[in-house]
């Protein structure tokens, strides 16, 4: 295998610009009036500036940084939900985005029905989901509620089902946005174990976390984002160490 084949994700100088209008013009009348008065002013805001990194297959990278530093925007660009204003993202392999657990669940449907719906959202047909269904419910420990509409679920149960589906379909690349903070302690441990299994099985992981210690444990590499800029990028123990020093500094 040459090096190109070995790369799961390549982000090449990506920038994401938002136009922050003072008020969003959702009504046609406002739009026309503002257009006529020439009041459509925007404030430009860069959520990401010139971010580049490469991640080899089976590798893991953690994104750290304070709130609003662009971590989730970066994940969304990689997941294909948003398109960067500049730069390119090249991804090879299937993606399971866990940006929000249970995104796409319909509250009126039962757990059983939502498994198939969510599977289809992630690009899998009924036959494939049939073969995974038992494992999903086993892992989520929700057999007792399999035919209950998920609107009656607690948020923890909801998240457990979402996590079970996204990790059981065995995508090549797993994108996680602070999901290990859901569920009770026992389930959190179970999730961590599952993630470690997946990682040793060759899954590529992108992880966003508030807690630098978890990032250090989970990921080989880390990228520290600060106001959309890359502050540091390298082995996770180094970056996380630097980030913790920074946190100590600002909290004093």
């Amino acid at each position: 295998m040459n090096t190109e084949d070995n790369i799961a994700i390549k982000a090449d100088h990506i920038s994401m610009k938002f136009n922050l209008s003072q008020e969003r013009t959702e009504a046609f009348k406002e739009y026309i009036i503002k257009k006529l008065k020439n009041q459509l002013h925007y404030t430009e805001f860069y959520a990401l500036r010139d971010i580049s990194f490469t991640l080899k297959k089976g590798g893991s990278i953690g994104f750290i940084g304070r709130n609003g530093s662009g971590k989730s925007t970066l994940l969304k660009c990689i997941a294909g939900v948003m398109f960067p204003t500049k730069g390119t993202v090249t991804v090879s392999g299937s993606i399971a985005p866990l940006i929000e657990l249970g995104a796409g669940f319909d509250p009126e449907l039962t757990a059983r029905e939502n498994v198939y719906l969510n599977g289809a959202v992630l690009g899998h047909d009924r036959k494939f989901m049939d073969s995974r269904f038992e494992e999903i419910m086993d892992f989520a420990e929700l057999w007792d509620f399999v035919d209950v509409p998920v609107k009656n679920y607690s948020s923890g149960m909801y998240a457990r089902l979402g996590f079970a589906i996204a990790t059981e379909i065995k995508a090549d690349i797993l994108i996680c946005d602070e999901i290990l903070s859901v569920g009770d302690m026992a389930f959190q441990q179970k999730c961590k174990k599952r993630m470690e299994e997946l990682l040793s099985g060759g899954t590529t992981l992108l992880y966003v976390g508030q807690d630098p210690q978890t990032v250090e444990e989970m990921c080989e590499e880390a990228l520290w984002l600060d106001h959309g800029h890359m502050r540091e990028y390298g082995p996770s123990y180094k970056v996380c160490g630097a980030y913790m020093d920074y946190l100590d500094e600002i909290s004093q």
């Binding site: 939900v81 985005p97 449907l109 029905e113 992630l122 899998h124 009924r126």
Partner: protein
Amino acid sequence: MAQSSFKIEGKSAIGQFLTYKPLIHELVMRDLKVKYRRSFLGYVWSVLNPLLMMCLQAWIFTVIFKSNIENYPLYLIIGNTLYTFFSESTTIAMNSIISNAGLIKKVYLPKFILPISSVVSSLVTTVFSFAAIIIVMIITRAPVHWTILLAWFPLLSMFLFNCGVGMILAGLTVYFRDMQHLYGVLTLALMYATPIFYSIDAMTPEVQFMIRLNPIYHYINLFRCMIMIGALPGINTWFACISSAVVTMLIGLTVFRKLQKDFLLHI
């Protein structure tokens, strides 16, 4: 090797459609389940509703307005069923992007799947409600013509037309929510401009000309010819059906593609 999911963006609409067929299937199943789950009679409503509607209108227009169209109940229920297909599917499609905002903010999907699957769900309920048309045919002892076998053609044309209109509306509504309020009035106006409970022959030539510009008239007319008269209309009707359907679908796809780029910033 599975390729990058965003490269699908460059694929043709048909290619994407095939890749995401399971998703359309699941979304349609969801719509149908959610629509009838809480109601006592469930799917029976999609047959009962058009029947009740027809009875009411038949009574109003024969007793109060003295309509003299032959087999008026059948005439009415065909017009109503097809027009409901148009208005219902386009209204749901219009809101499909906004109501699935939670999904498209978190997961990559080709967004045109959402309005299309709304129209498919509506097509399925429309086909269920054909049972009501059959019931009316039996009760009124309407003769069955072989042309009934071709009735899928106006339905398919209408499906494509609805998909096109639905995509245009879905795209515009993301930017201008006013569409949601305006569209109710528009569909009502269009309903009166479509010969559902009156006959086009009773109109003046100028009005007839105006009505013929309305594609929905042609779909309903063709369907009625096939079921009620048993004769096929001239080439003009067929041409009107095919061209309006295909052109609207293509415009819909083009407009939607242009608009979808910035959806995420507006929902």
